[in-house]
Symmetry: C3
Subunit: 179 residues, 3 copies
């Protein structure tokens, strides 16, 4: 890892991807979208863990310990017995930002996915990192990221993480004027 | 009860309906709407309890023990001192699905009911059952149920409850394609 | 204080306003807007506290002890390390009303403020008082208050607080018909 580039951590939460039964498409889909949205060159690192609370928590802590400004999870936010990403979030998030989950569910509803309300996605601050739960399906990842991305760089700045610039050709990052 | 039909539990939470001072119109309104929305023939059973946390919890546990795929409550979700349905939900829900409450409040706001924001309705998984808090007023029940119903059969399937078919002449049930 | 007028408490949460480094514009902006929206003449009292959980909690308890029907906070709801208003709310709110936060974030998103999702504003019942977190910026205060105000007088009535009349020339207060 280049020490000069901000670190972005991606955690794919999936029993099947973790066991190798299934190729992880979601983690790379998040990295691809973020590379496009961010003008700042970042270091992207993906880890794959099974749907187990303690392993999700350990992966989050690994990334926060290394100063990741942004951590994205993918998968495990539904109502199935094996979906436990939100249970891990409860253990690590210090300041929950409910607006992210609200807006991601609304963005999916708006494109005609009524089952968006089954998603327990949330976001929040862990130390100086912003952690955001993305959907598990690659097709839904871009929809959600487009909705929330404009607020992400300013959020990381407020949390005292690294300064990130958006790519103005792709997405308008928003930083409010000081009062 | 026919053992071959999925059980749907309805819990009317109301001091006045429970004491007999007042006829329960809300429970039957939920059963009527669900009979119309579901193609699968189900067994509907309604219990009426006062606004007491322990009695609401006992009614929920009674239905989950008997394998109800869907449990609907009606009443007790406002900000009044006697409104305690959400306090009972905190004790029974294992995986909260906030999107249901968000969408039901939005559906009521959209038809011009600004006091929709006073509703503390939520939903979630209890064992293999989906529990959803409906409003207390019959007129609001249909509005809320139309908003959330398309996601309900798939949610119950993910929770490993019974398979339910919607009535396509009335409502489009949504089941996402596997990734 | 005139004993015949309902009390409205305003709590400005800001290290800088509290130390005198910075003039409190947000507290007066809330009082000005409420005076305009309410036909009932009320007593408005503002206290300024630093971003400290225990001082926010003490200010809330001071107002509830004196029978304030409505308590508005301003400031401290973001993701910064010093933003702790929501942490104080967790300690005082008895019945949380998530719909207020949802609608305030939506109102800000709708006027083109993508960072609205960074706000952790909420509302709820404390004793017989309704407490609502308003934004810190005066420009955002009016947007949020216009969105939620129609539901406020009925909410306070349900919580057994004072009866407040809206000013129909400015805002339509909503009280549902009894079922």
């Amino acid at each position: 890892m280049s020490s000069s580039r901000p670190l972005i951590g991606i955690i794919t939460v999936s029993d099947r991807a973790s066991s190798g039964e299934y190729e992880d498409l979601s983690g790379p889909a998040i990295a691809d979208a973020l590379r496009e949205f961010l003008a700042t060159e970042c270091e992207y690192e993906t880890v794959i863990v099974p749907d187990e609370v303690d392993q999700i928590v350990a992966a989050v802590k690994g990334f926060t310990a290394r100063g990741a400004g942004l951590i994205c999870t993918t998968g495990g936010t539904g109502p199935s017995p094996r979906d436990v990403t939100p249970e891990a979030m409860e253990l690590v998030i210090e300041k929950e930002l409910r607006g992210f989950g609200e807006l991601m569910r609304k963005a999916s509803l708006d494109i005609g996915v009524p089952t968006a309300i089954l998603s327990r996605q949330t976001a929040g601050i862990v130390g100086k990192s912003l952690i955001v739960n993305m959907p598990g399906k690659p097709a839904s990842i871009r929809v959600c990221l487009e909705a929330i991305f404009p607020a992400i760089p300013y959020c990381i700045e407020l949390a005292e993480g690294p300064y990130l610039e958006g790519n103005p050709d792709v997405v308008q990052v928003f930083r409010p004027k000081k009062k």
